[in-house]
């Protein structure tokens, strides 16, 4: 009884799908043949077959020139000019004034004595964030990868469990945790009171919020790095462990002498990737804390966003900070490309 019902349902679903594809196939065919005809018959003869490669790269290059190359050049222009106007003709050269303003401090170790105290604070916050987040991320990802690399049941399930937050949007991740951290109705505070502690209003404590910002970034992204490390682990030939075992190495020695040295290229890639993303960190924390309380979780990118897009829209200053950030990122990215190249050569 149940069976026939089931097959009937799937049968009608198949009918629906057939109808759907029949209706859709006509416009799709029209597009496939239409585009083919227009470009092959009308455009290619005009351009000439030999110049077709240029036609193929044209859309990409147009977007690249317009939305990457031009902005990069403009960023230089803005960083060295002043004024609140965005029209280039109304901007005037100020030399290095924007950069001088950023580092205009009575005492560089105390951000309160600086003219752009939020900027100095943001540098400090970003440094602190990276200094904790990057090692935490790598260590946790490494442990997950090692655990998943064991002979275990339900490996696919456990892998998905650690991986799925990677696919959630930063806004959703931040909202999930913002809700977890509420003083009323939040799960973390419920657990604290269950063990007899006083509920904590995390949102008014800068140090707590920095902790949670780091925790949430690790929670959201660790699956991604664990996956890369797992691929690296699985690339180590099992015969090496076999040989180490025969030579009498225990599992600790195997880890330090075989796993780690052979995983070093992958670990380096992960390190650079986490650094690059740490420097650019914005959305998770922006939604979770808004940079607060005060400016205690304001990172570099949020500082750029605030300076540029919130009144009084100091474009020059924001561009100057962008330029500094770009230098850091460029160094890291070149390093990453170099590593990638070395790795592919090794393979």
């Amino acid at each position: 009884m149940d069976m026939s019902k089931h097959s009937q349902a799937s049968f009608s679903l198949r009918m629906l799908w057939q109808q759907f594809t029949r209706i859709l196939s006509l416009p799709i065919m029209a597009i496939v043949y239409g585009v083919d005809w227009i470009i092959s018959r009308l455009i290619e003869p005009v351009i000439g077959s030999r110049r077709m490669p240029y036609f193929f790269v044209l859309p990409n290059m147009l977007i690249f020139v317009l939305f990457i190359l031009t902005p990069v050049l403009l960023n230089f222009v803005f960083a060295f000019t002043g004024g609140s106007s965005t029209a280039l003709s109304n901007r005037f050269g100020v030399g290095l004034a924007n950069f001088e303003r950023l580092f205009d401090c009575g005492d560089i170790t105390n951000y309160l004595t600086c003219r752009e105290d939020v900027f100095i604070r943001a540098i400090g916050n970003t440094t602190l964030y990276i200094a904790i987040e990057v090692p935490a991320m790598i260590i946790v990802a490494m442990i997950i990868a090692l655990a998943l690399n064991q002979e275990i049941r339900l490996r696919g399930f456990f892998r998905s469990a650690f991986f799925f937050p990677v696919l959630l949007s930063p806004v959703v991740v931040a909202l999930i945790w913002k809700w977890m951290l509420q003083e009323r109705g939040g799960l973390i505070n419920t657990i604290i009171s269950m063990f007899g502690g006083e509920p904590i209003n995390f949102y008014v404590n800068g140090e707590w919020m920095m902790f949670w910002a780091i925790f949430v970034s690790v929670w959201a992204q660790v699956g991604f790095y664990a996956l890369i490390l797992l691929a690296g682990l699985q690339g180590i030939p099992p015969s090496l462990f076999e040989a180490a075992r025969i030579d009498g190495a225990n599992s600790m020695q195997q880890f330090w002498r075989v796993t780690l040295p052979l995983l070093r290229p992958t670990l380096l890639v992960v390190l650079v990737l986490t650094l690059i993303r740490g420097v650019q960190m914005f959305d998770h924390i922006y939604v979770l804390t808004g940079g607060g309380p005060g400016t205690s979780t304001t990172l570099m990118v949020q500082y750029i966003y605030r300076t540029g897009f919130e009144p009084p829209n100091n474009w020059g200053l924001a561009a100057a900070v962008s330029l500094l950030l770009a230098v850091v990122l460029a160094i890291l990215t070149i390093f990453q490309l170099f590593l990638n190249r070395k790795q592919t050569e090794a393979v």
Partner: protein, 368 residues
Amino acid sequence: MARTAERDTASYKWWGSHILGFLFRKQGGKRMNLTDWLTYAFLIVGTVIMFFPVLWMIMSSFKPISTLLQTPPTFLPYYPETIVIPGRDRPLPLLDVKLEDGSIKRMAQLSRVGRAARVLDIENPDAPPINVPLENVTPVQTVRFDLTNYTTAIERFPFFTYLRNSVVITISATILTLLINSMAAYALSKFRFRGRSVIFLLILSALMVPLAVIMIPVFLVIGWVGLGGNLLGVIIPPAATPTGVFLLRQYMLTIPDELIEAARIDGASEWRIYWRIVLPLAAPALAVLAIFSFMWRWNDFLWPLIVLGGKTELSTLQIGLNSFQGELNVQWDLILAMTVLSIIPVVIVFAFLQKYITSGIASTGIKG
């Protein structure tokens, strides 16, 4: 080997130990040692930490605001039961009242007076209400997965506007990404032409300038070309992704040149070779890029935030969610419901295409 071992365990009389044995046994039927126990302990604790926040959000999204903010919170969504009593203009909450003689009676609450509740006898509503101290009172609640929060959220917020914008952006940006990146990848993998290495280097260098670094000038350029406050401004600029070009180029390098040569000898135009031969052959790589592009666009936050400038009628789901959570009095019941709705497409994609995503990341290292 593993199969016979499984059949052996199936003969265990106590099925509970069978399940435990299945879970906690190494492949090949070896017994567990300390490392295995630690591994499982870590994996299970980790799974709870990863899953529970999401589960908590989903459960919370079904709770009415009264249950949502109560301390201590409950895991399941409890709804206070109410009763309609003739002569009273609104439904009254039901209470289990412990009377002075120790018996428990179900009564309706009229109001709260200090630390006491004014309650009414249900069977005899005309009798004068009595006051009982709050400690003798427990509200009657039932677990219900009620969709009120969802319907209210959809009514109160311009949910369908956000949804439409997100869908339009995601689908058109993905199609555009596939088209222009595969064109560029084809040219870079199968042609020798002047300037090829320069173009390749330019695309490579685009990796170095993420949006976060150039958001100020990009915002201005988008305004100058007339795409500011326009969905096209979100769709077009990120479509030329270097990662996409690399992924497709690597794949197209494996397509044999002879195939293309043969088509050329048969008189096919260059476009037709790309459109009718190379594209279908590159379908697996295109599929991987399509999944990633879908994820990138659906979850994107910074780009629409900058380009769309906070206009409600142009906002995506992500921007909408963010703007409502930033209000002074956050309406958590509605926000949570909308958040759950916004992750449904991602969950569907993950459920069906997980294998491609994970193998795509593991083999290319592109961002998920």
